[in-house]
């Protein structure tokens, strides 16, 4: 941290501030989402609903008082065996319906997993029976053979490494560039601040249909990034490193950090960058995690842009494509089997599945921000 000779009191003070912003995030993210999307319209609507609700609740309390007798009668009725049976039947109905719907939602994924373990003959043999949804357990060599082929033979490991590298660079740049901008907007007073906040709001609100072609003309004809294999990855990384929405998220979060901590650090002689990296960022772990998670998901799932700017893989060269683009190259390879295609889909799904499980909390916090991009 900032000061090596920190007393216990100071330490606990910092810890307590760490706790405060963490609790606030859920609220801030939720309100931000509303604020950006609907702004005044929404707040008015929700306020009205809230007022209505309160009025209803008041009336209800009075009535509740009078209807306690009625409640007592109902409770007696619940105890009778007839109602118990009915409740049990209801529960059975509920779970059956839920399971059937789960199967409807999961069957394509089960099919993908099951088929990924089969050879072409087994796949054709199982078609039309319930075995379609069960993995091949009789012959484990072919079960893992598809995965081995896809990962080494079709180069999925290279695409995976590429994507992880792209994502890592994008996450770091995204947090530093947008975080610094958000920090300046939240904590500094300077002439022209109104201009910057107007630009930020304008760019968030204005809907633009597919600026992907103009963006391509800039990357291809103005910056010439796609001309050589050395600069092509920059065409993936640079446009993804700037996100006006993330600047806004950081700005909102940093405003919640008390100014006293910064002032204390300044008196201790820490510079602006040092304050940002060793105090502001550590205090903002929740928002940093949310931004990082969504950057990773976005980079991993991106398909159209990488196939536009990255060169087509050549024999004997390290390919530059990311994982989703790599999937299409597996699919169009000559002599590829259905099982191998499915194995490649599973390989591309597993890492993102792990991210969803690990970063669950931050995804729920930030789903408003992804709702904007979709």
């Amino acid at each position: 941290m900032l000061d090596e000779n920190k007393t216990l009191d100071e330490q606990s003070a910092i810890e307590s501030t760490q706790a405060v912003p963490q609790e606030e995030t859920v609220e801030t993210v939720a309100t931000e989402e509303v604020a950006i999307q609907e702004k005044a319209v929404e707040t008015v609507a929700t306020q009205e609903v809230a007022i209505q609700e309160e009025a209803v609740a008041d009336a209800v309390e009075v009535e509740q008082f009078f209807s306690q007798e009625k409640e007592a009668v109902e409770k007696k009725a619940e105890r009778s065996p007839n109602v118990k049976v009915r409740k049990c039947l209801k529960a059975i109905g509920y779970y059956t319906a839920g399971t059937i719907m789960s199967l409807i939602f999961l069957f394509p994924l089960l099919y993908m997993l099951a088929t990924s373990t089969k050879t072409e003959q087994q796949y054709a043999f199982d078609a039309g029976s319930l075995m379609m949804f069960l993995p091949n357990v009789t012959d484990l060599a072919t079960a893992f053979g598809n995965y081995a082929n896809v990962i080494t033979g079709y180069g999925m490991w290279q695409y995976t490494i590429n994507t992880i590298l792209y994502a890592a660079v994008i996450i770091v740049l995204n947090i530093i560039i947008n975080g610094l901008a958000g920090y300046a907007m939240a904590k500094f007073n300077f002439p022209g601040k109104g201009f910057f906040s107007f630009i930020i709001l304008f760019l968030i609100v204005v809907p633009v249909e597919t600026s992907i072609i103009p963006l391509y003309s800039i990357v291809n004809q103005m910056l010439h990034l796609t001309d050589s294999n050395m600069t092509a990855p920059l065409a993936i990384i640079l446009p993804a490193s700037i996100s006006i929405f993330n600047i806004f998220l950081f700005m909102q979060f940093f405003e919640g950090i008390p100014k006293e901590y910064e002032e204390a650090a300044r008196i201790d002689g820490a510079g602006t960058l040092r304050i940002f990296f060793s105090m502001i960022l550590p205090l903002s772990k929740p928002i940093v995690a949310t931004v990082a998670t969504f950057c990773f998901i976005g980079t991993w799932n991106d398909y159209v842009w990488p196939t536009m700017v990255l060169p087509y893989p050549e024999e004997g060269m390290w390919p530059l494509w990311n994982i989703q683009a790599g999937l299409t190259s597996v699919k169009s390879a000559t002599g590829v089997t259905t099982g191998e295609i499915m194995a490649s889909l599973v390989v591309a799904s597993v890492p993102i599945f792990i991210v969803y499980v690990v970063a669950q909390k931050y995804i729920v916090q930030g789903f408003g921000s992804a709702g904007l991009k979709m």
Binding site: V49, Y94, A127, P191, G194, P207, V208, P239, L327
Partner: protein, 325 residues
């Protein structure tokens, strides 16, 4: 040429910034407050990287997408770009009149939006209401319904390509085989293909909106329902008079985001059928025209038309959904 336009845009923005800066300093002087020079300089330095990147990769594409629409810009020859007025727009309307590719793209996009918006939102709301209770095990149901969201659109498209495979070993055809139905070619079928894309898109996306609905539902106070049931309101009345009004803002948010997302559909037809009149969509058409055929001006004109239409529709959606109060 492109650098020249970039310079003009940057200069215009810089001039606007300077004007605001000078105004701010003058106002501050009148109020007898001063801006710290060091503080201001470090703020500008902190904002510099984001500003440069935002200028090149966020603002310029917006400026260009407006400007290209009135030129005959061919992707590889930016120096021969010429201003041609409304010619691109005339060409678009002529193509619609002749029932060309744009006509199909518009029809298919309309079909997709009309199909996917109610289906996806309805499914999401239904599922959210279904799992929104205190029974044990609803967490597992939630995970099951959310699972398709995790896989990307690319994976979804390829997976369903196998499920809808025209050979008799394809999943759906082998199931239809039980009933003696001969193998169908679902995705090349001119009538049905777009509806299959609707179905798989709703399957992939609805878990996400379910989560948003669930967070909206969790904000409703439980005692309202208890009170209503004491008053003798049945489940349907409770839903109509408590749940629906409380979910209005969530609903508005979801309708607009799903609508905007649906109207941009592109990856599914791209991966499942390539350029075919029965599945092409507006976004995919703009991509093909601008990238594969390199007629950036023509593509940008369509993008401009679509931005205007979309802006108008979202505005209408907002007013209509707000007025119901």
């Amino acid at each position: 040429m492109l650098w020249l336009i970039t310079g003009i845009v940057a200069a215009a923005l810089f001039a606007a910034l300077m004007a605001v800066v000078i105004k701010d300093i003058v106002v501050a002087k009148k109020k007898k407050v001063r801006y710290g020079v060091r503080e201001s300089v470090s703020a500008y330095l902190l904002l510099a990287p984001a500003t440069i990147l935002a200028l090149i990769f966020v603002m310029l594409p917006i400026v260009y997408s407006l400007g290209y629409a009135f030129t005959d810009y061919y992707l590889l020859e930016p120096d021969y770009m010429q201003f041609i007025g409304f010619e691109n727009f005339i060409k678009i309307f002529e193509s619609i009149g002749k029932q060309g590719m744009i006509y199909h793209a518009i029809i298919n996009t309309l079909k997709f939006v009309v199909g996917v918006v109610p289906l996806q939102i309805g499914l999401a709301l239904g599922l959210a209401l279904f799992v929104n209770n205190k029974r044990k095990g609803t967490g597992i149901f939630k995970v099951c319904y959310f699972a398709p969201v995790v896989i990307s659109l690319t994976i979804t498209a390829q997976l369903w390509l196998q499920i809808l495979s025209p050979s008799e070993t394809g999943l759906l055809n082998s199931i239809l085989g039980w009933f003696g139905v001969p193998p169908q070619d679902f995705i090349r079928n001119e009538e049905g293909a777009i509806w299959w894309i609707v179905l798989l898109s709703a399957w992939q996306g609805c878990g996400y909106q379910m989560l948003i609905f669930l967070s909206g539902l969790s904000n409703i106070r439980q005692d309202l329902y208890e009170a209503a049931s004491l008053d003798g309101a049945n489940k349907w009345q409770q839903f109509l008079h408590i749940t629906v009004p409380a979910l209005r803002s969530t609903f508005l948010f979801i309708v607009i985001t799903v609508f905007v997302g649906a109207s941009r559909v592109m990856v599914q037809p791209m991966l499942m059928t390539d350029e075919k009149p029965h599945t092409i969509t507006i976004s995919y058409w703009m991509y093909l025209e601008g990238y594969r055929y390199r007629e950036v001006g023509y593509s940008a004109a369509m993008a401009l038309l679509m931005t205007i239409v979309m802006g108008a529709i979202t505005l209408v959606q907002r007013t209509v959904l707000r007025e119901k109060d």
